[in-house]
């Protein structure tokens, strides 16, 4: 069974976003990246819009409860772009697949095996 119903997942993601706001405060001038998620049977999929950035300037940091996306934009003006992607319990932030295509970074986080739907 999935560990959360959609409303519960949304609430848990919101809680983790608030809980890890300190990461955002560490970079006071950073611009927020637009991040969206969808839940699937196999895991959680995040989409992050990273415009005007080349992929070499993207750093994805995997932490226990969140994945932090940092991107250095040099044009039109230099800026640090920051996205915090919560990973609720039941998903494994060590098991991720990351793709960058166009201006979208896709981060797929797998469910932990013992929570996977039978």
């Amino acid at each position: 069974m999935p560990p959360y119903d959609p409303a519960g997942l949304e609430s848990e993601i919101g809680r983790l976003e608030r809980s890890y706001a300190a990461i955002r405060r560490e970079s006071p001038g950073a611009h927020d990246l637009a991040c969206r998620w969808i839940a699937e049977a196999s895991g959680l999929r995040w989409y992050v819009i990273v415009a005007d950035v080349v992929e070499a300037d993207i750093d994805v940091e995997l932490l226990r409860e969140v994945i932090v996306v940092r991107a250095d934009r040099t044009w039109p003006e230099p800026a640090l772009l920051l996205g915090i992607l919560p990973v609720p319990g039941g998903f494994d932030p060590g098991q991720v697949v990351i793709r960058f295509s166009g201006e979208t970074l896709e981060v797929r986080v797998r469910r932990e095996p013992d929570r996977r739907a039978s």
Binding site: S19, A22, V54, A56, L62, L105
Partner: protein, 353 residues
Amino acid sequence: MKDYYAILGVERTATPAEIKKAYRVLALKYHPDRNLEDKSAEARFKDLAGAYGVLSDAGKRREYDEALAHRDAPGRGAAGAPPFTGDDEGMSIEDILRRFGGVFGGEFGERIQRGRGAARAGRDAEVDLTVDFRTAAVGGKVSVSLSGAAPCAKCGGRGAVGDDPACAPCRGTGRVTAQSREDGQFFTVTRPCSHCNGTGIDPALACPACRGMGTVARKRALKISVPEGSEDGAFLRLAGLGEAGAGGGAPGDLLVHLRVSPDPVFHREGRDVHAEVAVPMAIAALGGKAPVQTLHGRVNLVIPPGTSSGVRLKLRDRGILGGDHIARIMVSVPAEMTPRQRELMAEWMKAGA
């Protein structure tokens, strides 16, 4: 002489940032690792590196611009232009990657994350707090108990015992960064160091009480000041009262999610407080004073003659944050009357009530 501006696809007035961006985009597209079978891509990559080598250096760019202007001046041909000698023709791919590799986000392969130390800001703690209407309205202190990361008492939050406890594989940063090269992707991925589990502390020298984290889970009690006029559903952010940071990082904030329980007497509309007040029938008819309980104490409300139920009377500045107290009059009729009261009432009716 090659037109480096055309090679990079930028105007001659391009800023250094525009030149750098154009170079990155094109260099990634024609990077030899992405075009293993395409030899023309390697040639293009070398051209791009040559152009970037000149245009990214202010001195070389000035010299190049002068040579370009001389070449393009009316009446002069390329043959008359002074030779430009500042380019890096003949560099190998290895030379180029060594020289400009930083533009791609650092050296390729696994590397140590240098930008950030092992210090981590503490998480923001969150607590739901229900307070009564009157405390929320006029402010007050409320005790809460919460659990979360607090500095380890044994190591003082350092996470280690002994000198020079830095984890060797990650050099004390707690993180290891690697360039992702799967499917031709070039972003970097940073993971906690597997040797020290992200603490940055050599496991052999880690504090046994906190296992190198510098923090332990602990319950604590706090007194929280609820500000005057707090509303139901409000968030209070109390800086530095969240969970302790790891590795000497700053503590997080405490987020208090405020719930205000309803009051049997008062309810608020904005800054105004509304309450019903029972007024004896005779005072309502003849006028007088009735005691009224407000958030700021008891006052006597002047009731004008002929006041009916439902009339609202305002007590200025007796509400929340300078709002008013609105008293809704409810005329109370006695459930029981003495024979004399009944007689007078009958007489009053006869008189044409």
